[in-house]
């Protein structure tokens, strides 16, 4: 036991004496949360709206005002005729042009039917789509207000409710993703690098010619990274709650428990990598390409798995981050309890066992 404690202390010394790496390890989650929270967002805000109003009536003015008043659009100018549209787009002054035809109001009240044209710059198709949706919704809203109190013979009203995330906040999506990413990065990559470093520096050569059990060395190595990961997890959660206003709806204890399970999965993966890699460089590449990339691409955090072709969907099942991501979303955002996540947790546990057994059997008790 005494031996084990000395080895854990040794690992802490390795980490603390390499200040730069430690700084990066603690800084990563903070930078990631800030980046995803404020820079890399899919939400469209303050897009440029130009208006071509050939009617200049009460109604057109009311609709335009309603658009401008929303967060999504900034009024950047109006134009007088259709010929000006093209140059406006080309000059990059508009993301969308709202066109009211002449006699808009008259048509609306006389024939109960009028058209508004929405013209968007679709060189970014996602942006164009989103803007059209926003604009349609705002116009629809206005229509509802107009009809208030009047009775129409037929009317189907759709009422949508965005469950768990009524404001459609991106943070609900990326915070669990960042958690998976950071834990994967620190546990798997850093442990594998640190084990391989012992090989590279020749420490392993001396340690092998001794009665030291490999278990002691490796288990001792994982402790500091486990603690560091829990620290990072805490900083991510604090930032999410206090900076991004993301509520934690489920049990915090459960959240930590499953995170520790996932950290163990990542540690066992790191251990497996260290068995194959001979240099720190190789270990890093395997961890980045073999673990981090699937975490970003196949966990459902950046791209919805439902949209992927079958082979990729099948592949995503062996990515541990996918299961962790889904557990975190359930616990943190939906506020579900253990009985809704036991399956995913069991899969993670199984994976961890599998990786550990493989690493165990493959551990080199000799140099070659």
């Amino acid at each position: 036991m005494n031996q084990f404690i000395i080895f854990v202390q040794k690992e802490f010394k390795h980490i603390f004496r390499d200040r730069r790496t430690l700084f990066i390890l603690l800084g990563i989650p903070i930078v990631q949360i800030l980046l995803f929270g404020f820079a890399l967002t899919n939400e469209v805000k303050n897009s440029q709206l130009v208006i071509l109003d050939s009617d200049k009536s009460e109604t057109t003015k009311a609709i335009a005002d309603k658009m401008i008043a929303s967060d999504y659009f900034d009024f950047t100018g109006s134009i007088a005729e259709g010929a000006e549209m093209e140059p406006t787009f080309k000059a990059g002054k508009a993301d969308m042009i709202l066109v009211f035809p002449a006699n808009f109001e008259q048509q609306l009240f006389q024939s109960n039917k009028a058209t508004i044209q929405l013209i968007t710059d679709a060189s970014d198709p996602n942006l164009a789509n989103t803007l059209v949706n926003y604009a349609s919704a705002i116009i629809g809203d206005y229509q509802q207000e107009m009809l208030e109190g009047k009775s129409l013979p037929y009317k189907i009203e759709t009422r949508t409710r965005m469950l768990y995330n009524p404001q459609l906040k991106g943070a609900f999506n990326f915070v669990p993703g960042v958690m998976a990413m950071v834990l994967m990065l620190i546990c798997a990559m850093m442990t594998s690098i640190s084990i391989v470093r012992e090989k590279e520096n020749g420490n392993m050569e001396v340690l092998l010619v001794s009665p030291l059990k490999p278990f002691t060395l490796i288990f001792a190595k994982s402790i500091p990274y486990l603690l560091l990961s829990i620290l990072n997890l805490t900083s991510i959660l604090l930032l999410s709650v206090f900076l991004l206003d993301l509520p934690i709806r489920g049990s915090i204890i459960l959240l930590y428990a499953v995170s520790i399970l996932f950290i163990m999965t990542a540690l066992s993966l790191g251990l497996m990598i260290s068995n194959v890699a001979d240099s720190q460089m190789t270990a890093m590449f395997i961890a980045l390409i073999g673990l981090l990339l699937p975490t970003i691409m196949l966990s459902g955090f950046m791209f919805p798995i439902e949209n992927m072709p079958l082979p990729l969907r099948a592949l995503s099942n062996i990515v541990p981050s996918k299961w962790y991501y889904s557990i975190i979303k359930s616990v943190m955002i939906k506020g579900l309890g253990f009985f809704s996540i036991w399956k995913e947790s069991l899969i993670l546990l199984g994976m961890t066992m599998f990786f550990l057994i493989i690493s165990w059997r493959k551990f080199n008790i000799r140099l070659a």
Partner: protein, 314 residues
């Protein structure tokens, strides 16, 4: 039989597969057999690539031999590897301690690996450790080459091993530290420790009780340093001239020359027999217009023997 020896090996063979496909494997150890008695300092001498490190890694159970067997303290290197690892001290050629830990921390760590303490075995490492004790709080990576070796040796000794295996401990260490290092080894031998040491420096052979000259995975000769030298029977002369470069060429083309090599300040000329004397050599060199001649009969050294043996092999 096996127990009277500290180490014995029978027909060890080690091959390394080449990176490129189709190339035959490199023979690192070629049918090596030897026996090392308890309590001796045994030196493996040979140039880089002779197979010294491979041999040491096999004896320390780090590598498996392709053929043959070996015993360390009566234990088989393949089947009893775990027991061997408890009772030997090993210092690889490359400094293999933790560079970011201090001298004291490294020592304590290694004591803990062997479930002992620095205090318990302090008498064994006292002489060595006292020299590095002033730097106890310094990180191992910041020590000088000689200090690193002393720390490495202390760590290898901390568990009172029966056999100490040192792979090129004096490579890259200054002359004074090297001399000190050998003094320390001799002191350690007094405690009954068997020491296996490899070195590319021929002049260190004299420090060993017995040596084995190695070349391309084979042992060319194995004896006491004096014994090895006595195998050398041809006359040998040390020759200096004003133009050493030309002299080497001329001496090599001298019909009575067996071999001639540059040895620092002079050339060592080995003649085929005793019939040629100093006068004849003198006359020959003068005929080749050499000036400032010095021709001197010398006793062969271990290096001369090694060169001669190498020549025989190839």
């Amino acid at each position: 039989m096996a127990t009277q020896y500290s180490v014995s090996a029978q027909n060890l063979v080690k091959r390394y597969q080449q990176e490129e496909k189709g190339k035959p494997p490199v023979l690192a150890l070629d049918n090596l057999s030897f026996a090392i008695e308890k309590g001796e300092i045994f030196g493996f001498l040979g140039p880089d690539g002779a197979g010294k490190t491979s041999l040491f890694r096999i004896l320390t159970t780090l590598l498996l031999p392709d053929e043959g067997t070996a015993q360390v303290e009566g234990l088989d290197i393949v089947n009893d590897f775990a027991k061997i690892r408890e009772s030997i001290g090993y210092m690889p050629g490359k400094f293999a301690l933790y560079q970011d830990l201090t001298v004291g921390e490294n020592l304590n760590l290694f004591a803990s690996i062997f479930k002992t303490s620095v205090e318990k075995n302090y008498d064994l490492i006292k002489d060595i450790y006292e020299q590095i004790a002033p730097f106890k709080k310094r990180r191992a990576g910041k020590l000088s080459g000689g200090m690193k070796q002393k720390l490495g040796l202390s760590c290898a000794l901390i568990h009172r091993p029966k056999l100490l295996v040192l792979d090129e401990p004096t490579t890259g260490v200054d002359a004074v530290s090297r001399k000190e290092f050998w003094e320390m080894l001799k002191k350690l031998r007094e405690s009954g420790l068997t020491i296996l040491v490899s070195t590319p420096y021929m002049d260190e052979a004299a420090q060993c009780d017995r040596v084995a000259l190695m070349q391309e995975g084979k042992i060319l000769s194995m004896d006491t340093p004096d014994g090895v030298v006595q195998q050398f029977s041809k006359p040998i002369w040390a020759i200096k001239t004003a133009n050493m470069f030309e002299a080497l060429k001329d001496l090599r083309s001298y019909p009575f020359t067996h071999s001639c090599f540059a040895f620092g300040e002079s050339h060592h000329l080995v003649l085929k027999n005793e019939k040629t004397d100093a006068k004849a050599i003198h006359a020959y060199l003068l005929s080749k217009e050499h000036e400032g001649l010095s021709v001197e009969r010398i006793k062969p050294g271990i290096e001369d023997t090694f060169m001669d043996l190498m020549l025989h092999e190839s």
